[in-house]
Structure formats: structure tokens, C-alpha cells
Amino acid sequence: MSDETITVHRDGGTGNDETVTVRRGDLPVNGETVTVYHGNQASVPGETVTVRRGAAPVSGETVTIRRGDAPSAGETVTVGRLVPRANGETVTVSHPVSATGGETVTVASPMAAPAVGETVTVSRPVTSVAGETVTVPRSAASGGQTITVPRGAVANPDGETVTVSRGDVRAASSVPASPFVPEDVTITSHDGQQFIVHLGQVVGHGGQSTVFAAERVDDGLACVAKVFRPLIEKDRTEYEKTVRAVMSLNGRPVSETHLLPIFAYLHQGLSATEVGAIAPQLWDIAITPKATCLSDRPRSKHMVKSRVIPELSQAINLLHTEFGIVHRDVKPSNVYLYDKQIALGDYGSARSLSGIDNRTTKTETRSNGYTPGHGRMVDPRNDWYSFGYTIWTLYEGNVHPLYERLKDDTFFEFQDAGQPAEFTHPDDATLGNLLQGLTFELANKRFGYEEIKDWIADPDHFYRQLPIFDFKSDHAPYEFVGRLYTDPVSLARGLASHWDEAKQRMQQWQLERQMRKWNENDLETKIHQITEAKAKGGEKPNYDFNLACVIYEMSGGKIISWRGEDVSLGAGKNDLPARIANMANAEIDRYAVKSGLDGTESMGVLPSGFLSYVLSRQGEHDDSVATIAENIKAIEDLAVASDGPHFAACLLKGFLTFDELETHAAAQQEIRRLIGNPRAFFATCSTSRAVDEFFLLFAGDVSMDAIIKARGDAQSRGSIDVDVVLDFMDRVADNKAPVRAFYRKYGNMAGWIWLSEHTALYEALPGSAGESAIVNLRGLSPSAQASVASLMQAGSNIRIEGSKLRADMEVTPVPYVNGWQTRDVLLTRPLTLNALFCAEARGETVPRGYVAELLAGGADEQLLDGIGIRLLAHANLTPSASYSQFLEDERNDADGALEGAIQRDTQDYSMTEGIADTAARIEAVKKEQSRVLRWTCVVAVIYFVAILCARGSFGQFIVMCGTLAPLAVLFLVAAFVGIFGFLALNLLRSFSAVDRVQSLDSDLAANADLLESRLVQLVDFDGRTGATVEKLLMVGVDEDLPMTQGTDFSFGSEGKAFYADPEVMDRLGRLAIRLLLITSAVISASGFMGTVFIDGDVIAKIEVVSAIAVDALICIYVLGDDEHPGSAASILSWSWIWLGPLVIAFLLWGVVSVLQAFGMVGAIIAVVFLIGCFIK
């Protein structure tokens, strides 16, 4: 076997069974290509081309079979191998035309069975058939044509793929079928030359054309005809420029131009019929001489360096300089060996530098490995890039240096990275330097013809500094407000300086696009997510927030800017904490201002949530910021939720400027001050501003959540809840005891806590609800050390039990407190006045003792009134207008149920009214009693003296004393009985208050509005006796109720009847006193009559008659309708009537008698005085 030849050219025709054998004895170099060249003759059926090799192939070696002509039907191409295939080795057979039917491709392994584990696969474009023969359909008319690739005696296993790989990415060189009906067509060029085009002999395909064999008629010169669809006018104009330029060189030798001549170009100069078409069409045709393509087989490195580089570069330079033409498609397959000269051909993509129409080339496919990333640009520098890779490929034996990337379709990525390919031949380092410079991605730094000339001049010592690919500065800088930016960080800084413009750019997606250009893919994704993120609540994007986040991300966390202001939370002198420390409070509000989406106001950084975003990002790498993040988040949430920005802004300031020692000391001092001064405490709690200032003292010292929650809870009801403030104090105070003591006195639950500590003031029947409540209250009484929170909770529970107790008491409240039993069973009763629920603490009715203790403890009424603690019975504290408001509040609390509210109030007020009114009546009755007694005595004495006067002599007085003394005594007794009768009546009238309350109750359902009005009048204390109220207020804590059962004014069990029907009893009492009066009158009259009977004179008779008549008048009067029977006023009025008889007596007995009467006056006065003293 010959080891000398590796390539067989077959220039002549071959007959059947001709065998072309390639043998070689040397070890092939890895990557070396072995090419079987099959001339330009059509193969005949049965022809076999065999490639044999004498040496074992290296793993990964590529064996390429190329054919220059179209296969004929039935033709067999056999690829034989003499050695076993290496494991993993791939042999690829490429078939450049679309196979449609009938064609058979056979792959055979000639020498050896596949090694164990070897994978041999038969691939083809149609469904595989098991076994050795694969039939590939093809569109060519030569049905039945067979291409056989033998692989020895061993049958291929099912699914085996045998692949013949090629050194470049172009379609395999197997001859395709003609797309036209095969025929020879003669055409004539513009200059009169004639050419025969063999449309049945396809010799290749261009990008948009098919190349056919042709020959010049004049001299039989072998040519090729490039046939393509008619160019549109713009493209044709461009192409014709090139053609004219090249044709203008036809007179010059190729050795001078190194450009493949164009013999002819005819627009629509060829009429040909496509296969399957029914009529011919006109096609453009260009004819060039047949030449050998350099890519058809490897060339020696020496040839590449000594011939191809200088001659090809000369051709390109000629196009550029002489004609202003950019070739745009320099590659090995367009470099020819023609007339023993290297010549550049194929001008289909060439464009003139003048008159460029930017829109002429509509499409561009990916790089074929020879054009830069923007290779379709009409840029002469790109031809040098193509030149570089063309030389490189030829130098590598027709293997592109980045063949693997081209195959994997990752060449684009390589270009984007901008780094040169590795040149692996140290012997030709200078060439490598040149090629790497030529293939530099960026045209402005790329080597060009000058460097090539330098290399040609001194290839052994050539060296140029390779350009450095700085992707960001070299590639698409970003223009922003008059400046060009080349990296994200500097751009972020620029964005922060021109906020509004930056927002627009962001909204236009320009920033993320620029990141893409800078190959910052993660940033691109991040920015897109930020830009398109919804705002909180699903609103439109908050562009300020989004931009701030974008700037932060672009700067890698270096720039923390809000609307151009540095809001870094670091410790630098320009960072926010340092700056905010020197700002006035009014100035910092802008950090917490919320704005509407209309953009009328700039949103502050706090409500935007940007600081939290920053801290959360920082927290991904630094756990220490977690606490700061929590606090800032709390402030931000507050800024969003608050009506005003001030508190949140102040919190931020406080937090950022927090000093551990000073802040804590100041805060504790304030707690001590407020607890020691209730008035100051309640003043602090009187306005939101003041309480805010208090909370702000703790910024930094206490967690923001705690402060914000306390502040929110304290103001949740529209006014300041002192309980929340005290609870907060209790939590943060170093010394908690004073705070807790303060709560027990002034907290909202203080009244109820007091109740739980004073259950001894109540007694209840066993089994009653009151008893249960009392037991529970004792259990609920908080310990002395209980925290404010515990006190609040306990107070809440106590209130429930206290309400039960109160309800049980109020079943029969008024009669009990007035000291009378009722027919109802008394379930629960207060044992002292302080046990009564007749005080109010912040809208709740609480035991009176709680308020009394506060007063006794030094709290003044002004303070208590100011904080909503008062005694309801206090006239000065409960004016009518206040009560109207009180009713309104009650109505609201009762969910609008006016009746319920009024009924409740009625009960409250009936109790206090009963107390006050009864006490007043008692006082009044006592006074009445005294007055009645006095006047009765006076009237009786006058009456007695009048009788004496009427008798006219002192002696008769003595007689009368002796005879009428028993009657006089009887009279006096009757008078005193009458006095007590008066007293009884007056006590009965004390029920009038109860009556009114009861009538109000019954009126509730009938007319609520009217009732409300009447209730208001009811509590109008102006009409009351001030002394009564004062007395109520003066009652001490331990003082018993003045009107409990068993007092002098109790009627015992009989009293039930009075209360049961006071009106009846009023009438009965009125009748009784009238009877008493009549009785006394009758007795008096009897006395007169007795004296008349003794003396028997006419005057006396007249006197008696007159007296009887007067008494009768008195009886008539008394029997009349007296609204106040038995009252002192009534008695006094009677006394004037009783003077009637006295006047008559004086008229009858004259002056002497009068003088006698005066004589008696002194004695009478003395007697009356003595009697009065006795009574009193």
C-alpha cells in the first residue's frame, strides 16, 4: 500500500467500476482533513470512490469526503477505512442537497467491526431503516441514484450513525441536483462574449444563488455561472457597481489584482425553468472563470503565509481603495486559486461605500464565522476581520479556529465577549499576533491593512500590542443628560443627580436595556422586576421608589439616594444620621410626607419603603442590620398609616440620632415627673402633640414597634387613652411601683379596682347574683404588685362583676336608699353611701367611694373634672347642658337605643335623686315640724288668751283655770297630735321625687323625646336645695347612710303601705289631719260653751255663737281642697282666721277689756316661751 498520496484529483472522465484509491502511510495529525476530490466530471452510475488509510486515526480526527460534481443516479461513493474506529470517533457524511426520494446512501466500515462500547450511528434526514443501507429521498430528477458509503464486511447495527464531518460549516460539497430543468443555455454578455451554461451541472450553491458549470464559447474556457433571482433595483444598483468595478479590471492580470474576474452580469439574462414549474422564468446571471476554491482542500501553512496573506490582502485593499467597495463576504470558500494566483471572488454581498442605502439589506443571519457581530455593516474594517479568520482557517487546514463554537452556535457569545481566539502555534507567534489583532471584535481597534503589510514585510519580528477589549467603554456607552456613561455605577450616580429625567428613562425601560448592552444580565432582570413592580396595594408603580431601588442595584449598593438626596444610614458625616441630627423638626417632616399619585407632592423616603428595601438587601449579607431593619420598617409603616408625617419623621430622627445613655436618662426622668404630677400627666395626655412628644423621648431606647403600637393604641379612639400611656410607662420605667400606684388612682379601671377592694360595703342575700358578684370581685382584686397591664385586665373583669352587682342593687334602689322597705325582696344593698354607684369616671358609673377617696386624698375637683371623674350629684359638675351631652353619649353607647339609654340613666338618677331629694325633704320636714309646733303653740295660746280676754276679768280667769283646765290639756294634746300628723304628711310628700321617676319610667315607651327633656329638667340641680348636695359631699367614707332602715323616720313594716300607694295614703293623711282639726275646734268650742253655760250672760252667748260660727268656717275651710294640709303655712293662715273671734271680743268688751288683755300678755309670753323651749 502506498503511503505517499493523500489526495486524488480526477480530472478526466471515469468509466464504470473505476476506483480511485487514496492511501497514506503517515499518521494523520489530529484535526487534519483528508479530502477526496472528485473532479468536475459527472460521476457515472456504479462509480466507486474509495478512501483508504494506512494508519490508525486519532480520536476526534475528521475525515472529509468532498465531491465537486453532482452525483448521478445510481452512483456509489464508498468511504473505506483500514483501521478500526476509535471509540467515540465520529465519521460524518454530509449531503448538501435536499434528498427527496430514491437516493440511497450506504455507510460501511471496511476493516473492522465496531470496537466494544463504540457508538456508531447512522443518521440521515429521513426515518432510518435498520441495517446497512440508508435511502435518502432527494428532489433531483435522478431518481434511484445511490450514494454508498461502505464500511467493510460488518453489518451496521440498527440505528448506527456514520457521520462524515467537515472542516467548515458550509454545506457539504457533494454535488446537488439542479433546481432547473437540465439543459444547456447560451447567453451573450454585453461585450458580445458567448457562454454556454450547463443547467444540469450544479457545482455549488451560493447564499442566494446556484452555481452551474459553464464554458466560454470562444475559447472553451471553463467557467461557472451564478444564477439567482432577479435583484430588486436597489440591490442591483449596488451589485452592478461592484461588477463594473471588477470588470474594469478585466484587462489587468490577476497577478496584479488578485480578484476573480467577472466576465458577464446580465439582469434577467437567463431564461430557465425551475423543476416543477410549468414555464421558464428570467434570472440574473453572472459568469466568472472556473477556479479552484481554497477551501476544497487544505493548503500548506507555508502557502498560506507566503501566498494567500499577501495576495488576498492586496485584493481586498484594491477593492477598498480603488473602488470604495466593501466585499463583506471574505471567507475561504470565496478565495480561489485561479491562473496560479490567489484570487478573491463572489461579490454578491459587496456594497459600495458611497450612496449607501441603509435599508437595502433587510435581513441578516448569524455570523458564519468570518464576519464580526455587526459584520453586515458596510465597513471596510470588517473585511479585515473576515480576512483574519479566513487566513486562520486556511492556516489550520481549513478548520475554523472556533469550529466547535460555530457548531454549537455559540460563536455569537464568543464575539460578544470580545476576547480573541487562542492561537496555538507558537512557531508562528507573529502570525498569531496579526490574526488576533485582525479578528478583534471592535472595528475601531482592529488591525488592518497597515499591520498586514508590516507583517508581510517582516513576518519573523512582527509584533503589535493587541487591543484591549473593555466591553463597557468600547461597547455602547449610555448617554444621559449630556454625559456618556460606560458602567452601571457611574450611570447610577448620574441618575441620582437628575432624578426626574432618570425616572423617565426608567419608565421607558432604557435602563434595563442598557444593562443588557453591558451584558449585565442579572441587573437587567432585576431592574425589569423593579420597574414593573406594582406599588403596595396594587397601585401603579411608585416611580420614585422604583428608581431609588434601580440606582441602588446598579451601583451595587453603593448609592442610596432618594430623589437625589443621599439617605445612607451609615455613620459618615454626609450620611443621613449626621445630617438629620442638625435639622429642625419642621424640616424633617419631608422624609415622611406621603404624596398622591398625581405627583403634586413629593413622597418622602419613609412611606416609600425604600430604606427597608435597602436594609433587606443589606441583610442578605449582614445579619446585624436585622434589628435596624425592623425598626425602620415599623417607622415606614407608621408613615404610611399616619395622617401626618411629623411623628414618623421625628421617630426616624430619634432613632438615627439615638444616644444610649442620654436618651434613656431623659426618658426615665420624664416618667418620674409625670407620675409625680397628675396634672402634668393628664395635660400630656390631653393632646396628640403632647403625648407624641412623650413617646418620642423613647425613640431608640425602646423598640419602634412598642412605641408605635402604644402611640396608636393610645389614640385609637380619637382621644388619648391614659391606660395605654401608663401601660407603656410601666413597661419601660426603671421604677415601676409609682406608675402602678398612679394607675390605681387615676387609671380608667381605678374605680373598678376600688370596688374589688371594697366588697365589704355590700351585702347580698345568699344565692343572689349580687352575692356571686361580691365573691368574684374579691377573687379578682389585683395584688399590690400587679403591673398596669394586669390592672387593666383585672379592671376589665371587675367591671363585668361590678355591673352584675350594681344591677342586683338597682332592682329596688330608691326605696331602699331612702330607708323604706318595699314589698319586693331586697337582694343586694349598699351598706354605705360610698357603695352607691353615683359617681362617674371617664364615662362609666362607678362607686361613689372611689371619687370620695380621691377627694379625701387631696385631688381637687378641677383636676378630677378635667380628667372625667366626678360625682353625679354634684350640682356644679352636672349642669343641664352636660347632661344632654351625657345622654347623647349614652345613646351612642347603647347603639342608638334611646329608650335603653334613658332607662339606664333614669335608674342612675333615681338613686341619686332619691338620696338628695329625701334628705332635702327630711330637712324640710324637720323645719316644718319646728314651725308647725311653734305656730300651733302660738295659735293655741292666743286662742286661750282670747277666751280669757273675752271673759273680761282676771277673777274669771282663775275660775276658768279651775274649771276648764282638763279641757285645755286635751286641747294641747290634740294640737301636738296634729303636729305629728303634719309631719307624716310632709314625709309622704317626700315621695314625690320617687313618683316622678316612676312616671318617667312609665313614659319611656310613650314619648322618649319628651322624657329626655324631662330628665334634663330633673337633673337641673338649680332648683334643688344646695345644702342637701353639700351634705352629700361632706359625708365621709365610713359614714353610714343617713336614712337606713330603723331610723326615727322609718315606719317599719307599716311603711310598705305608704310606698305601695302613696297617693291614697296622702288622701287618708289629709282626712286624718282634718279630723284632728275639727276635733280640736269642737273641743275648743265646747270650752266656750262651758264658760257660757257657767256665766250665762247674753254677751257670752253671743260670743259662743260667734266662736262656733268661726270654728264652723274653719272646718269648712279645712274640709276644702288644701294642697298642703297641715303645713306650717296652712296653720299660719288659719291663725289669722282664728283672730276673727278675737276681734269680735274686743269690739264687744271695749277698751277696758283690752287693757286687761295687755295685762295678761306678759304672762302669756312667758308661758309660750317656756313651752317653746320645752318642745325644742
Binding site: L353, T360, T365, R366, F412, Q508, E532
Partner: protein
Amino acid sequence: MTKFIAAAKTQAGTNHPVNEDRLLLDGNVLCYGLVGDCEREMGCMAVFDGVSEGGHGAAASTLAAQAFAQATQVFEADSIDVLQDRLRMAGERAENDVESYAARYGLPVAASTVAGLMVAHDGSAAIFNAGDSRVYRLRDGVLAVLSYDHTPESRLGGVGFEYSDESVSHCIELAVGLNQGGRNLEINTTTLFPGDRYLICSDGIDGEIDLARLQQMLASDSTCAQLCEELYAEARMNGSTDDATLIVIEIGE
């Protein structure tokens, strides 16, 4: 569910004998006419611009549009991820159809640009494109180009302004049918908000209207249908001779 009003128009220019643009709306592929204002809730809306020679561009855009129509018709995506998957599937189908067509007729190039918008149930939307057809959005007075031009100008030029190098020829680097390594669509996501206006158009429209004018016109009180006519007239008045196709969408409450 997001509701929106859409109107569209497509009409041939003078560059080609036939309109090589196609309009996909409501599952229908249109090559001529105006679609008036109509309220919609879901769907895929897109314009296609054929790229080929000898009138094959119309076939390419038709095939691409039909493939998208079939892939997106009667399809309701609950989330943007599902929607993107469906669009990629549509892109692959269109790619295959156009490639097959090109192979059948031996065309060196047959492709179609595409630009469109597809809405998901959750109020999000996918913006997709290949080539130089564009999707614009006017939100809060700011006009944004949401699509990515697959042209040298876009790739080489800075973001936000046209590449000024005259040596760059206008060509398309990505389109349905160009077989660019399995990638034939650029898909972005966005969220729709009431008041947003979207313009999807081929280069026959926006190629001749500068961005400032476009923003001004989209911000006018005109209805979507009126805008279609106005933008078309503006482009023609400015010298556009290419086929022109556009869809104007206004997001409702």
C-alpha cells in the same frame, strides 16, 4: 379581569405589490382594513411584517400570524409564566411553518417580524417581538418602547437613541423563520394599569414618526380607532411607503 379597548388597522404601502404585513386580532389574521374600538378581556394581539423576496414576505407573515393565532386562540393564561410558555410554543410553530415554506420554495430568506401583546388573567401581559416591529406604551405621560429591536442599530447603538453610524445598514437579526439558534422571540412582561395605552406597529408606522410626536399623539383624547387613522395618516404624510400595520390598545378600569 382586565378589560381594554383595542382598534387596529393594516394597509399596504407602495413598496410591495401586496401588503406583506399581517394583523392578528381576536384570533383572526387580517391583511387589510380597520378594526374599530371594541372592548376585550383576553387575547393575543400582534402585527407581523413579512421579510422575503418576490412577494414571499406576505406568505411568511401570514404563516407566522396563523401559527400565533392557532397557538393562542381559545387560550386563557392564569399567569404570566403560562402565557410565556404558550408564546414560545407559538414562536416555534411559526418558525417551523415559515421554514418549511422557505424550504419548499427554495427561498434563501423567508421570515416575518412580529410584535405583540398578550394578556393574562391576573392583569399581567407579555410583550413579545422579533425584528423591528415595536410595542410602545404610554403610561403617566411617558412613552416607552417595550419591544427590543433586533437590528444592528439597536444592538450597536446606545439605548434610547438611534445609532448614528451611517455605515450601519438596516437589517433584521432576529425574526420568525430566520432559524437563529432556536430563539425567535423576545418576551418581556409587564403589568397593565388603567389608562395605559399601547401601540403595536410595524415599521411602516413608527419608522416615520419621531418619538416625541408619537407620545403627543398617543396622549391625545382620540379613541383607539381614531388614533389608528391618525397615526396611519401621519406616517404616510411623513413619507412612509412601507406596509403599515398598527394596533392601539387602551386599558380600562
